[in-house]
Symmetry: C2
Subunit: 246 residues, 2 copies
């Protein structure tokens, strides 16, 4: 495997949101290491560290030891240029669902420019609406429609396998754009919401679906660092003109 | 998914040789069902049935309940036209190692004509030499050379995923040939060995590598039903001429 492909895999982050069973965290760590991934982030794990995690990780305890525990998905996505959510259900989504090979290609292409996260939900409930809204793309593993319930560790194994398979097989297009860090994008959303309230366009008592719709728009196009600066400059100017003494 | 592809998946058999941990049997059953596979064969499992197997199978207990327990790999391959062994190691093998996508394509192509087995070894020791010699092809999951140890359930998940992915994506060439059932092939080997001893070509006290070499030759070409009949006819003729009173 070329050094270049290995570096791309080191830019892939696996994020587990609210995992219930520590054994699954260990199985995910093992699955990752067998395929050359190392960045594991855990958002509010129910039990961690835990002996079951260590037992299931087997020879991949180093991945567990380096795992970052975060209190929010937003924090786990710090330093990422793209977050791909995983779903086992075809929900009422307006976003196209990628298959693993497509998601792997997109992720490795973008990993040339920064970290890319694959976000997995809780074993029983999957990703929440709020978590899905933090992702710029969604993927699903095509499964038996009569029983599509992959174990969390098994889902991580399939995705890690697909990433390695794709990394070994292909060369990647350049990243689509010089994407902003997702934490910067979140700060922009915060700024946008605050400004829309100040100018009276968004009623916080009845926000309806305004912010989710704006998020969807910007997730679809994605934002460059420079664009974030421009948009936030516009928002600051709006605030000043709305409240000259500000 | 077309009915045709679904039927091909139903002709794929997963054979676990001497699994130590019943939890892995359950995980394999769950992995299989999520990808539409159903034929599970267990050769001398250490503990089965077992509560751990049921717990890990989750909604795939039906696959466990239908699992066939066998005393030998030969028995588990009855009714198969092709057996593909899985290896995590690059051994001193003279057979080419397929990658999962190649193995899936070959298996689905041959599954048009009968059952095809994927054979997985014990968690710690893998497949024995004798078990490998019962397989006509070998595959490996390309893994991190620094840590290639996939959990057994995870390895079954990757292979089942690759089979479903391939079944969804492709149309298959016709089977290469009207392959004989592997039990017939084993009977031929038994007949061949007996005859070679009778005619003094094989010394049972010092057999060297004669039979493994002959097995490798016939595994490479594979044998049709008609060819088995011809070869066994030849062996019978040899025996008669060697011992006219026979």
């Amino acid at each position: 495997m070329a050094a270049e492909s290995r570096n791309l895999l080191s830019n892939i982050r696996i994020v587990l949101c609210r995992p219930s069973h520590p054994g699954n965290i260990g199985a995910a760590a093992r699955a990752m290491k067998t395929m050359g991934l190392s960045q594991l982030y855990l958002v509010s794990p129910k039990k961690f560290p835990h002996a079951d995690a260590g037992a299931m990780a087997s020879g991949a305890v180093d991945v567990l030891e380096c795992a970052q525990v975060c209190e929010s998905l937003e924090a786990a996505l710090e330093g990422c240029v793209l977050a791909i959510g995983t779903s086992t259900r075809q929900r009422d989504l307006q976003t196209a669902l990628l298959i693993p090979a497509e998601a792997a290609g997109k992720a490795l292409s973008e990993a040339q420019g920064g970290n890319v996260a694959f976000v997995f939900g809780n074993e029983t409930f999957g990703l929440s609406k709020e978590e899905l809204a933090r992702c710029q793309a969604l993927m699903t593993i095509p499964a038996n429609p009569e029983y599509s319930s992959l174990n969390l560790g098994a889902a991580v194994q399939v995705m890690a396998y697909e990433l390695r398979r794709t990394a070994l097989a292909e060369r990647f297009a350049q990243p689509e754009l010089d994407a902003a860090d997702l934490v910067e994008v979140e700060r922009f959303y915060g700024h946008l919401e605050k400004t829309l309230i100040e100018i009276g366009f968004l009623n916080p008592a009845s926000p309806k679906r305004l912010m989710p719709k704006l998020r969807r728009l910007f997730s679809r196009t994605r934002l460059q660092k420079e664009e974030i600066n421009i948009l936030r400059g516009m928002l600051s100017a709006m605030e000043s003109s709305n409240n000259p003494k500000h």
